[in-house]
């Protein structure tokens, strides 16, 4: 567990204290926090206190924040970022090897060559599908990992694997672990924010931002996909200012007194902290979510003025604004099974790309032009890829691809990752990762490493057990993709 000492003031903090007016209420809370920080480290005799005060990482971090663009359903890597000429050759013919179907006795074994063209882009000359023209434009800032695999069979399990390192529900997610390990760089916004799609929650719903058995203070906060994005931000006129400030002070006295007779109740502590945060968010969240402060050029860049990309663009832009203000971990979701192209892949995959390609690329570009990309890790990918063979062989318009967790692609940008780089490879058909494979545990070890955390040392004591994100698995830091 990293110790409770603060970083020197970071550029991000400087930015944040400079950009918005710190009201009296906010000041009180910040002072309160600073006082907390100034407390000498106490011996570990009494109950641990869990909060979002800044913690010292294990080593110098590259990344301070992460934005996960989670493509729920499993984007078809061989149609997007992992071209397979062998499949094009064999299109319509029987698959020559063995397929690891989601269910062995089922599905067809007819090869489906990618219906889309690939071309080399950027100085790095990485192959990108015509479905991702905007991503192609920032490919030199992107590290494409073509050898991801979780080897578990279905959406929920693979989502759990990538989020929590385990395949069953109830465990803490990556975002919770990072906030637990590092605390928050903002005390005026939640450290961990989830931005779900207006249509529906992803498969596994709220578990994507669950704290599992970590204390509730590390839970993600949902920002709604439509107005009011955060409800109840405005106090009524008569409470604004001093009356509510005094109310919060009195409330904290009541709650502290209550807690003092119930030491160790982490939920009670978390709620006290949450009132503190709520007080702050009244001004800070409003400011952070106010996209009218952005120029038209920026909005256009994110596709906010086109129907297909308006929502996703807005949420990517919100992600950037949150990161800029010190939020540690932001998840931007697509709707339920958005990329689960079992059928009609010829129409559903282009539609999915259309919604996400431009905003995702804009996010990378925008972070870079603001000097934030170096310290912000952007992740793009889903819980699986697709199979090289046809599913639902009912005519070209209806064909799709089944699940494949044995080899799939994710990309990363910034936060200490190499740009214009390809890591790992799947076999000639895109079925199995075979070269420089990256498991969920390697993925976790690497991401935590970028945050300055040692995945083996980041543990939480529970029931006399030291539990970690790796859960006893060997997680290799994939040094080859680090700058």
């Amino acid at each position: 567990m990293p110790s409770n000492t603060s970083f020197p003031m970071t550029r991000r903090q400087a930015l944040h204290s400079g950009t918005f007016g710190v009201g009296t209420l906010a000041l009180a809370w910040i002072l309160n926090r600073d006082q907390l920080l100034a407390e000498p480290a106490k011996p570990d005799l009494e109950r641990k206190r869990f909060d979002l005060a800044l913690k010292k990482p294990h080593h110098a971090p590259k990344a301070k924040a992460m934005i996960s663009l989670f493509m729920q359903g499993g984007p078809s890597h061989m149609d997007l970022l992992d071209p397979k000429s062998e499949l094009t050759k064999l299109d319509g013919k029987p698959f020559p090897g063995q397929i690891k179907y989601d269910n062995a006795a089922e599905a067809s074994s007819t090869v489906l060559g990618s219906p889309w063209k690939f071309a080399k882009h950027g100085q790095s000359g990485i192959d990108v599908s015509e479905l991702l023209p905007h991503t192609a434009g920032v490919i030199d800032d992107i590290c494409v990992v073509r050898s991801m695999h979780t080897d578990v069979n279905n959406h929920v399990q693979s989502i759990h694997a990538l989020n929590t390192g385990r395949i069953v529900s109830g465990h803490p997610t990556l975002g919770s672990w990072v906030c637990y390990g590092l605390g928050s760089e903002t005390q005026t916004l939640p450290a961990f924010v989830a931005l779900p799609d207006p249509v529906s929650l992803p498969v596994s719903t709220t578990e994507h931002w669950s704290n599992g058995w970590l204390p509730a203070v590390y839970q993600g906060t949902v920002v709604r996909p439509r107005e009011p994005r955060i409800p109840n931000l405005d106090p009524p006129p008569y409470l604004k200012g001093e009356p509510q400030q005094k109310l919060l002070k009195y409330l904290e006295e009541l709650n502290r007194d209550h807690l003092s007779k119930r030491p160790g109740e982490l939920d009670l502590e978390a709620r006290i902290a949450s009132y503190g945060l709520a007080a702050q968010m009244q001004t800070a969240a409003k400011e952070a979510l106010d996209l009218s402060q952005e120029t038209e050029a920026i909005k256009n860049m994110y596709g906010m003025n086109e129907p297909a990309t308006a929502d996703y663009g807005a949420r990517c832009l919100i992600a950037r604004r949150l990161i800029e203000r010190g939020v540690r971990f932001v998840q931007v979701f697509t709707s339920n099974q958005f990329w689960d192209n079992h059928g009609s892949i010829r129409t559903t995959l282009p539609a999915a790309c259309k919604k996400t390609d431009k905003p995702a690329a804009a996010l990378v570009r925008d972070l870079k032009q603001r000097g934030l990309l170096d310290s912000t890790l952007v992740m793009w990918g889903g819980e699986m890829g697709r199979l090289p063979v046809i599913q639902n062989n009912a005519g070209p318009a209806k064909v799709g691809r089944d699940h494949n967790t044995y080899g799939f692609t994710m990309w990363f940008a910034g936060g200490g990752m190499k740009g214009g780089h390809v890591h790992g490879a799947t076999d000639e058909f895109g079925h199995h990762a075979i070269e420089n494979k990256v498991s969920q545990h390697d993925f976790h070890a690497t991401l935590l490493h970028l945050f300055g955390l040692d995945a083996k040392k980041l543990v939480y004591s529970r029931n006399n057990q030291e539990l970690s994100l790796l859960d006893g698995h060997e997680g290799r830091i994939v040094k080859e993709i680090l700058r």
Binding site: A104, E106, V222, P228, N232, L247, L251, S274, Y275
Partner: protein, 886 residues
């Protein structure tokens, strides 16, 4: 060292004894080795149609025989065994998932110690998915075993305590001391009726000298009509209750769903035996005597109960829905609801393929589905609107027809009179024209509008008063119009005498029709495969086979009745355990099985299996009485103990052993209902159509009756009759797309399609809501009003009463002093502040609305002191002490 010694010894065991069961500690095939093979190997080597490489690892003798590469092992010599070689070299299993070193050691040890199996193996084994004996032996599929209550040296009140104490003692722990009386009445009252105790109730209980005071309290609360409102809600989570259809963005309302809600509340209140409750929900229509006598309340009750099977989200009524997919989704979700509610097994996972962890073949999903398809026939689909069963009787219908005739007569008279009035008026208007125009005008009027010539049109335009019609008559002749209006009212009054036509939402078979249920390849309704007959879980076929359904009088297939009887058979290993576990979960915050909807391999194992079985057995033998079960649990030492933590209880951080009572947050309904109760506004009206929910100007779901045009402009009043906005949360409309924000933020049930267990989060949106939401602010103001009314103007009396109402105890004097100081300082702030601008409040806000009576003058703005007391009351209502129960 120890291992090596044993290894050396066991190698010497002669092979002849290998296949007989021996109680030694060497690894055994079924117990230790087969699960390893199942996890890593048998998907290819045994469960596929053709085992790869000819190798089948499902039986020991198949392992010995080996595949194309020869025998897979040399008994006694792991290092010479092909199996070990393949594993150690990394060749097998292919892929990332490898055996751990410990597992390889276990396998080697098994070979070294003679590759033993504990029982004789079956002579034959069919290909494909097989349920192995070990799978059958999984705890959840075992018959319920009622063990003797253990004898323990500890303070115990009920057998429950004895079972719990054994495990506590194993860890050198004991129960905590009994909680004090104020704590216990607050805990018990919230638990049983979802509301806080009143101050009078607290005083009476604290003063009760009777040794049975606690038991009396339990009985009083169980007898309260509020009990059913609380516990029905728990069951509605499991049923996935909603007042809207879902399944499409329009999310249309689902009329009359509330009758099922009321059925559940009544069932809980009268302690309907739970087995009967289950049978009615699954097959009430098949239980009711035929032909249905719709004037018989019992028949109607049974029919209403089948509303349970109509709870799944249903997009099949949405315009443009893909009917095949939409219908399939409804039936699939209903199978999921039924299986998770009663079986606690994730049968839903077998929709597309054999269950990966539990012994549930894909066919099981379709076996269950076959029970439903005579009622949910995708080929003869009843759209949502057609599922209403009218409760009109023949007599009602006749009466209604008679009344209609009477009303129609009035209508006819009125139309005739109307024509006369119009003609008279026209004549008067014509008379005003110059003589020359009169005849042409009469002719023009007689000519239908479309056939008038240009001259006639011009005439009528130039003299608009000639265009008298039914709609404009009142402009000419108000007396005539009033007379006609009276007749309209008269007809309406007559029609009101018709018997009210009530409907219930039911699921019934199409009599005499048995649609075949097909297994869907990969769950795809476009790829139907073999026909599957109705059946229970295959894994239980030996323990408790499901008898063939028999058609019931009236022609219903009897399938659902057969399912219901099977589920409620006292020998069913799952149903009673699942129900008892849910009840336990609601009382203690966590089930004895931590995963109430998954008793399978991926679920948690029971913390106290013997206790779970004892309770299940007791529940069944006392006639499936929930109230009896509550009594049993609530009178235990475990339930009555304090929630305080100490060093000892901290060794069990999740409180699985129950060395203390867990501190718990109020759930969504209790947060809202308790605020209303304390503010004095709670309206206890029972039953009936749900209190409507609409979106306010900010897009938040609030209570109110939407009255807006397509662009969102308010067309008129959106208020409800006074008091409706303050009814208990169970009566608030459950609109899937518009969950009431106060409930939603506090982790209301997510019904996709149903809710196994609620979460209890502390997310910041809750704090924002409690600080700023209209609901909290309004309740704080009502609370302050109540306090002023009951305590008068003395500040100490005010803060003390408010404290008592919110927390149930007197404040200590220092607490009261602080509260007085707080109110005083708030008063100062409000006094010195400039008067706030007049409220520009959103008129749609539900708490602002008034009744439909004469317009009331706006109340005078609150004084500084009144405001200050409101803020203090808000602090109490949003404090942890109010939101949590010890």
């Amino acid at each position: 060292m120890h291992f090596l010694t044993r290894l050396a010894l066991s190698v010497m065991i002669p092979l002849a004894v290998v296949s007989t069961a021996i109680a030694d500690d060497s690894p055994q095939f079924n117990t230790h080795i087969r699960p390893l093979f199942k996890a890593y190997c048998t998907e290819c080597h045994g469960e596929s149609e053709k085992p790869k490489g000819g190798l089948d690892l499902r039986l020991r003798r198949f392992v010995l025989k080996g595949g194309k590469g020869g025998p897979s092992l040399v008994v006694g010599k792991p290092d010479e065994s092909l199996l070990i070689e393949k594993i150690r070299s990394g060749e097998m299993p292919p892929g990332k998932k490898k055996l751990t070193p410990a597992e390889v050691d276990l396998l080697s040890k098994w070979i070294a110690t003679g590759a033993k199996v504990e029982t004789d193996e079956p002579a034959t084994l069919a290909t494909g998915f097989q349920i192995a004996p070990e799978d059958r032996q999984f705890w959840a599929f075992q018959p319920i075993r009622r063990l003797a209550v253990p004898k323990v040296e500890d303070h115990v009140r009920t057998p429950i305590d004895a079972f719990l104490a054994v495990k506590l003692h194993d860890k050198q722990m004991r129960f905590s001391a009994e909680a004090d009386r104020v704590t216990i009445i607050r805990r018990l009252t919230f638990d049983l009726i979802g509301l806080p105790p009143t101050t009078a109730e607290i005083d009476a209980f604290v003063a009760d000298q009777d040794s049975q005071a606690y038991e009396k309290l339990v009985d009083r609360l169980l007898a309260s009509p509020r009990y059913g409102e609380r516990w029905a809600r728990h069951w509605l989570d499991v049923a996935g209750y909603a007042d809207s259809e879902g399944g499409s963005p329009e999310d249309p309302l689902r009329a009359n769903a509330w009758k099922y809600r009321d059925y559940v509340i009544r069932a809980m209140n009268k302690d309907k035996p739970f087995d009967q409750f289950i049978r009615e929900q699954l097959a009430g229509d098949e239980l009711a005597a035929t032909p249905w006598n719709l004037t018989d309340p019992e028949t109607v009750e049974k029919l209403t109960a089948t509303g349970f099977l109509r709870m799944a989200p249903d997009g099949s009524g949405a315009p443009g829905a893909d009917q095949k997919l939409a219908r399939n989704a409804v039936v699939t979700d209903t199978v999921k609801i039924v299986s998770s509610a009663f079986l606690g097994i994730t049968v839903g996972c077998a929709q597309c393929h054999n269950h990966r962890y539990d012994p549930v073949p894909q066919t099981d999903f379709y076996r269950l589905r076959a029970f439903l398809e005579p009622g949910y026939d995708p080929a003869a689909w009843k759209p949502p609107a057609a599922r209403q069963l009218s409760l009109y009787t023949e007599a009602d219908r006749k009466k209604a027809a008679e009344i209609e005739t009477e009303a129609a007569k009035i209508d006819k008279d009125r139309l005739a009179k109307q024509q006369t009035f119009i003609d008279q008026t026209f004549d008067k208007e014509v008379a005003k024209l110059p003589e020359a125009l009169r005849e042409p005008a009469k002719l023009a009027r007689k000519t239908p509008e479309a056939k008038r010539n240009a001259e006639q049109k011009k005439l009528m335009q130039e003299h608009p008063s000639l265009n008298v019609s039914a709609g404009s008559l009142y402009l000419y002749d108000s007396k005539a119009a009033a007379e006609l209006k009276k007749l309209v009212e008269q007809a309406t009054e007559v029609r009101k005498k018709k018997p009210v036509e009530e409907f219930v939402r039911v699921l019934t078979d199409t009599p005499g029709k048995l649609p075949p249920t097909h297994l869907h390849h990969r769950g795809d309704p476009d790829q139907p495969k073999q026909v599957v007959a109705p059946g229970g879980l295959t894994v239980l076929d030996d323990v408790l086979p499901l008898p063939n359904p028999q058609a019931v009088p009236g022609g219903s297939s009897g399938r659902r009745l057969a399912l219901a009887k099977w589920l409620t058979d006292p020998k069913h290993p799952l149903t009673a355990r699942v129900i008892v576990n849910r009840i336990w979960m609601e009382h203690f915050g966590r089930g004895l099985v931590g995963t109430p909807g998954d008793f399978g391999r991926l679920g948690e194992r029971p913390t106290h299996p013997e206790l779970l079985d004892w309770l299940a057995s007791e529940f069944v033998s006392t006639g499936w009485s929930l109230k009896q079960l509550h009594r049993l649990i609530l009178t235990s030492v475990a339930y009555r103990q304090s929630s305080a933590r100490n060093a000892k209880t901290d060794t069990d951080p999740d409180d699985r052993l129950l060395g203390r009572y867990p501190l718990r947050r109020l759930d969504a309904e209790a947060v809202r209902d308790a605020s209303l109760a304390v503010s004095g506004k709670l309206n206890l009206e029972q039953f009936g159509p749900p209190v409507p929910v609409m979106e306010d100007d900010a897009g938040m779901a609030v209570i109110g009756k939407a009255n807006r045009d397509g662009a969102g402009y308010k067309l008129g009043d959106e208020s409800l009759p006074t008091g409706q906005e303050s009814r208990r949360s169970i009566y608030v409309q459950v609109r899937r797309s518009k969950p009431l924000v106060v409930l939603d933020v506090f982790d209301w049930a997510t019904i996709e399609p149903n809710c196994e267990a609620r979460k209890s989060s502390t997310a910041t949106p809750q704090s924002l809501l409690l600080l700023n939401n209209e609901f909290t602010l309004a309740q704080a103001a009502h609370f302050a009003d109540r306090v002023r009314k009951e305590a008068g103007t003395d500040p100490r009396k005010q803060v003390t009463l408010a404290w008592r109402l919110a927390y149930g105890t007197e404040p200590q004097s220092i607490e009261a002093d602080k509260a007085i100081a707080f109110v005083a300082s708030q008063t100062n702030i409000f006094e010195s502040a400039a008067p706030p601008p007049p409220p520009m409040k959103n008129a749609a806000a539900p708490t602002k609305v008034k009744g439909k009576g004469p317009i009331e003058p706006p109340p005078p703005p609150p004084t500084a002191a009144e405001r200050a007391l409101t803020v203090y009351c808000q602090a109490l209502l949003i404090s942890n002490r109010f939101l949590y129960v010890d």
